[in-house]
């Protein structure tokens, strides 16, 4: 019997109405997450990459019930998160934690950081008073800080220190999954490396699954086991990390990788992918949403939206024109 995955997402949609006019009439919809399915196993790191507006942050938050989806299901530890009554959802939350992007704003400015971390235990009702204080001191040590740091206020600490405390707060409940929403984007390079290494070590020690949301491909290559590339609400390619970076299939993935400025001076004059301006999210092109920026678009691309189809072991692409993609035969002759 196979073990069910830790997280299973099916057909997830998150839609926002676009309101205009005097009375706020709805004139369109933005499909922030437009039909996403994915799975995450225990102790695995899945990265969601994409540019702004691709829906990766929204997906990350929805998966741990910080946002409600418009359609679809999220099975976490085999429980349908959005069908649970509030008290059971609260119990599940303990196992699915969150690290946000800006460490400076994710702590209540009026509490000491130790009190903020301790609040996790208070809310979940874990341990007794004495035990809680010790647990906070311990977790601070675990993330590389001194226990005395817990008496500081957020504005007295650096970005790197605060992000460590963010990790501490997520970790203290002993979760199985942590959704990391751009956890190192707001940090300097030297501090970024500290935090990435810390995450890797903690993941190994506590067998954590990480859903790592980032726009930085080099960081993703460093930390992820598997990668899903998102474009305007859909996953366009998913593969094991090594595979994706070595042999990407989807034209958007290729463009993303080509656009990252390389530190290799020999590639200084490599041509830049010319993609054109991104479309308006409320008015995406028909068929494949990438087609009007795509260098290899074929006529089929404007008619039918491609679904994710496997092209290799663990490697799936949503594209009609990518190598290895299967284009279904037309139903009628001459069609």
């Amino acid at each position: 019997m196979s073990i069910p995955p830790l997280l299973q997402v099916d057909g997830l949609h998150v839609r926002y109405p676009v309101r205009k006019g005097l009375f706020g009439g709805v004139v369109g919809t933005i499909n922030a997450v437009d039909g996403v399915s994915l799975t995450l196993a225990r102790a695995e790191t899945l990265a969601l990459v994409g540019e702004s507006g691709c829906g990766k942050s929204t997906l990350g938050r929805t998966v741990i019930a910080l946002q409600r989806p418009s359609a679809g299901t999220v099975l976490f530890r085999n429980q349908d998160l959005f069908a649970l009554p509030p008290d059971q959802l609260k119990r599940q939350r303990r196992f699915a934690q969150f690290i946000s992007q800006n460490p400076r704003t994710c702590f209540d400015p009026r509490r000491t950081v130790g009190a903020s971390v301790r609040m996790a235990l208070d809310i979940q009702g874990m341990l007794d008073r004495q035990g809680r204080d010790e647990a906070v001191a311990d977790i601070f040590r675990k993330v590389g800080l001194r226990p005395e740091h817990r008496f500081r206020y957020p504005h007295e600490l650096s970005g790197g220190q605060l992000q460590r405390i963010g990790i501490a707060r997520a970790l203290i409940l002993k979760p199985s999954l942590i959704v990391c929403d751009e956890p190192v984007s707001a940090l300097d390079v030297s501090v970024q490396a500290q935090i990435l290494n810390l995450l890797r070590d903690l993941q190994a020690e506590f067998e954590l699954a990480l859903l790592f949301v980032s726009h930085n491909l080099a960081v993703v290559e460093y930390i992820a086991d598997r990668v899903a590339v998102m474009y305007y609400g859909r996953i366009v390619e998913t593969a094991p990390a090594k595979q994706l970076f070595r042999a990407p299939r989807h034209p958007y993935t290729k463009a993303l990788l080509a656009a990252v400025p390389s530190l290799d001076l020999a590639r200084r004059d490599d041509p830049v992918p010319r993609l054109g301006d991104p479309p308006d999210p409320a008015h995406l092109p028909s068929g494949c949403r990438f087609r009007n920026r795509c260098p290899i678009a074929i006529p089929r691309c404007s008619e039918h939206e491609p679904a994710l189809a496997g092209v290799d072991a663990g490697h799936a692409v949503a594209c009609w024109a990518a190598e290895g993609a299967v284009v279904p035969k037309p139903a009628m002759a001459g069609g």
């Binding site: 390079v189 490396a193 500290q194 890797r200 990788l257 992918p273």
Partner: protein, 340 residues
């Protein structure tokens, strides 16, 4: 190619011992502590540093855009032989825009939300070159075309909020280059942009500057950006330049422990063989309480392994170690280039 003829031999921009401070009294923050930097005509110089390095403050200081409670506390800035710090307000107004321009990280914050972008591009042309309204508008449309804005005649009628981030940054570049300045300062111009747009904007910057012979001072924390564009690189730490030289030298075999640390800490595409990133332990020092010795000493692996006491006691000077390569470090890097 229209190369402006230099008025004198030598660097276009010559900064000597520049010091910029914020506040006064015991809590004074010394954001820039004695910087020497030169930029030649037509050269692209990358200024690299993390937060607290002083790179953005340096960029603003060059154009005398520092406002209270900050002030330039000492040093010299010579632009084409002219003393910038001694310029009158009137001269400053004519120098800015015409000889030197700047673009910032957030274009939306620099564009006037209630004016059409065509007029915002046309305004410097009208003011400084005394063109008629029609002439300035045509000039603006031509500029928008040259920075890659499609259908510029129509786009010029748009307001800033109707532009995407990438388009807004292109407009900023158009405004900055409108009067064909000799030097352009770009302060993190692509940090807020998506990576595919970033690549295009960087290319635009490079091509525009090369075409017009404009020098570019590119302030960034991203080493990849510098690798793509810069001829020379200066690395800043805690208000000082710690190493500068040709881009190949700095990126491939830097000598300063901090520069080395940065290069090893940055994750690179295609590099990961699963090797661990080497982070630089600790954090940036408190700029309001400068220590006696080298600012990087407490975090420096080389100092620790060589047990150099001098690093903690005395600030090393920025000295040439080769032609066009300067280093601020007491400890000579070992021959193999390995180690801290």
């Amino acid at each position: 190619m229209t190369m402006p003829s230099p008025r004198h031999d030598g660097p276009l921009l010559d900064i000597r011992d520049l010091r910029t401070q914020f506040g006064s009294g015991p809590g004074t923050v010394n954001a820039v502590q004695g910087v020497d930097l030169r930029i030649a005509p037509g050269e692209i110089v990358g200024l690299v540093g993390e937060s607290g390095s002083g790179k953005s403050v340096l960029a603003l200081s060059i154009m005398r855009l520092i406002q209270k409670p900050g002030r330039i506390a000492g040093g010299e800035i010579l632009f084409d032989g002219r003393d910038v710090l001694a310029m009158s307000a009137r001269d400053l107004g004519r120098w800015r825009g015409r000889d030197i321009g700047i673009i910032f990280q957030q274009p939306q914050g620099c564009l006037n939300p209630v004016r059409r972008i065509g007029w915002q591009v046309a305004e410097p042309l009208r003011q400084q070159e005394r063109l008629s309204r029609k002439g300035a508008w045509d000039g603006a449309v031509a500029l928008l075309r040259s920075v890659g804005i499609p259908a510029p005649e129509e786009k010029a009628l748009a307001y800033p909020h109707q532009l995407s981030g990438g388009q807004a940054q292109r407009v900023m570049i158009a405004i900055a280059l409108a009067l064909r300045p000799r030097l352009l300062i770009a302060d993190e111009p692509t940090t807020a942009l998506d990576v595919t747009i970033q690549a295009q904007i960087l290319e635009l910057l490079r091509d525009s500057c090369r075409h017009a012979g404009t020098s570019l001072l590119l302030v960034t924390h991203d080493l990849g950006v510098v690798a793509r564009l810069a001829d020379r690189v200066a690395v800043m730490y805690a208000g000082r330049i710690v190493e500068d030289g040709p881009v190949a030298t700095i990126l491939d075999h830097p000598a300063h422990p901090y520069a080395r640390g940065l290069l090893r800490a940055a994750p690179r595409l295609g590099q990961s063989g699963g090797e661990r990133l080497q982070d630089i332990p600790g954090g940036i020092p408190d700029l309001s309480r400068p220590a006696a010795g080298c600012a990087f000493a407490p975090r420096c692996g080389r100092r620790a392994s060589l047990a150099l006491a001098r690093c903690l006691e005395e600030m090393p000077p920025l000295d040439p170690v080769a032609r066009d390569h300067r280093l601020r470090c007491w400890a000579t890097p070992d021959a193999t280039g390995d180690g801290p």
